[in-house]
Amino acid sequence: MRSLLIRLRLALQIAILAVAVTGAARADDQHAASSGGVQAKLGYCKDCHGPSAQGYRGYFPIPRLAGQQTEYLENQLRAFIEHRRTNNVMFNVAHALSPSVISALAANFRSLDPPPVGGAPRQLVAEGKRIFEDGVPDANVAACAACHGPDATGKGEIPRLAGQLYPYLTKELTNWGKERGQNPAKPDTSYIMSPVAHSLTKSQVEAVAAYVSYLK
């Protein structure tokens, strides 16, 4: 009887300790969740990408995420982590994101719909529209609309271009081969854009970038 009581008391003490420990752990998790959780990370993204993720012309152009295809966003965040896409700042940012936070962030950005920030040279838009809709047959460049959609909103993994920042688009198209597909051990779908980026002239890049940057 006495040994039963001793064992029961011990069991009770262990139970109390277990509750106390998990209670403390939960408080720590909550603290971690408050800085690693979706709302905190969303605010962090918006510090650079804009209050409605519309993008921002910093010293470096920070792209629009609003209305972006979720598959594309998730792929890019993974690409930064896997060094398939070279960007020191985004490598550090993406590293701190768990897969479930990445999915939640992507879904959140998908739902945002601010107007484009604009600012591209208006006189280039007409030629940009022609290139977007008809391609550049002489240079073997397909119409952008064929993959990115007639309204440039993208599909599946193929990104939305509508409302994207003009200086960001020109930088990406110009530097495609230096920034994307950089991990030879992990080839990715960015290779599809390589011939396009390579074949467009500087003024064609600027024209098509200006055109899509104004699309809603």
Binding site: S35, G36, K46, D47, P51, Y56, F60, V89, V93
Partner: protein
């Protein structure tokens, strides 16, 4: 008699030239600013350096003082009154003029904190949701467009500004700085202000 007239003439011409240069260098409108902002607008505590600042940033600050959007205590005490009679054109001219003056770095931060400040500036602190300042403010903290040059501003000015945003005071133009500054600890603010005060 004849020997003094040429020397008076030379003296008079000399005065005219010197005063003309002074006029070109510091018009009355500019003098109104440099009383407080220092010789060649290099700053004079607590008034920040204006020399070499992004002109669009300066214009926006002057507008922010006019609308009272920028509302920290020293702004209220000095700048709201200073711009009350400033026309938009004069504001733009002043902003352009100050942006052309060569800036001198204050270099008055804590040297021991520079390395930490540099890391926060260039890399950010992703686990603490603090962005890398470099993305907007540039590799040399030079700024662009409406984004200010931070390089070489006085330690006390940078520190006070970051702290005030954390206390709830407003910028001339909305987010993101108050959101960012709110997340910085006072050690991180000291480190950033120290690093930036040395950046040329």
């Amino acid at each position: 008699m004849t020997s003094t007239r040429p020397s008076i003439a030379v003296f008079a011409i000399g005065c005219f030239v010197v005063s003309a240069m002074a006029c070109r260098a510091e018009s009355p409108a500019v003098k109104n600013c440099t009383w407080c902002h220092g010789t060649s607008a290099q700053g004079y505590t607590p008034a920040p350096r204006l020399a070499g600042q992004q002109s669009l940033y300066l214009e926006n600050q002057l507008a922010g003082f006019r609308t009272h959007a920028r509302d920290n205590p020293l702004s209220q005490q000095y700048m709201w009154g200073a711009v009350a009679n400033l026309s938009a054109q004069t504001a733009r001219d002043l902003a352009t003029y100050f942006s052309t003056l060569p800036p001198k770095a204050a270099g008055d931060g804590d040297m021991e904190l520079v390395a930490t400040g540099r890391t926060i500036y260039q890399v950010g602190m992703p686990d603490a949701n603090i962005v890398a300042c470099v993305v907007c403010h540039g590799p040399n903290a030079e700024g662009v467009g409406q984004i200010p040059r931070l390089g070489g501003l006085a330690y006390s000015y940078l520190k006070r500004t970051l702290e005030q945003w954390g206390q709830g005071y407003h910028t001339a133009s909305g987010p993101p700085m108050p959101n960012i500054a709110r997340k910085l600890s006072s050690n991180q603010i000291g480190a950033l202000a120290s690093y930036l005060s040395f950046v040329k």
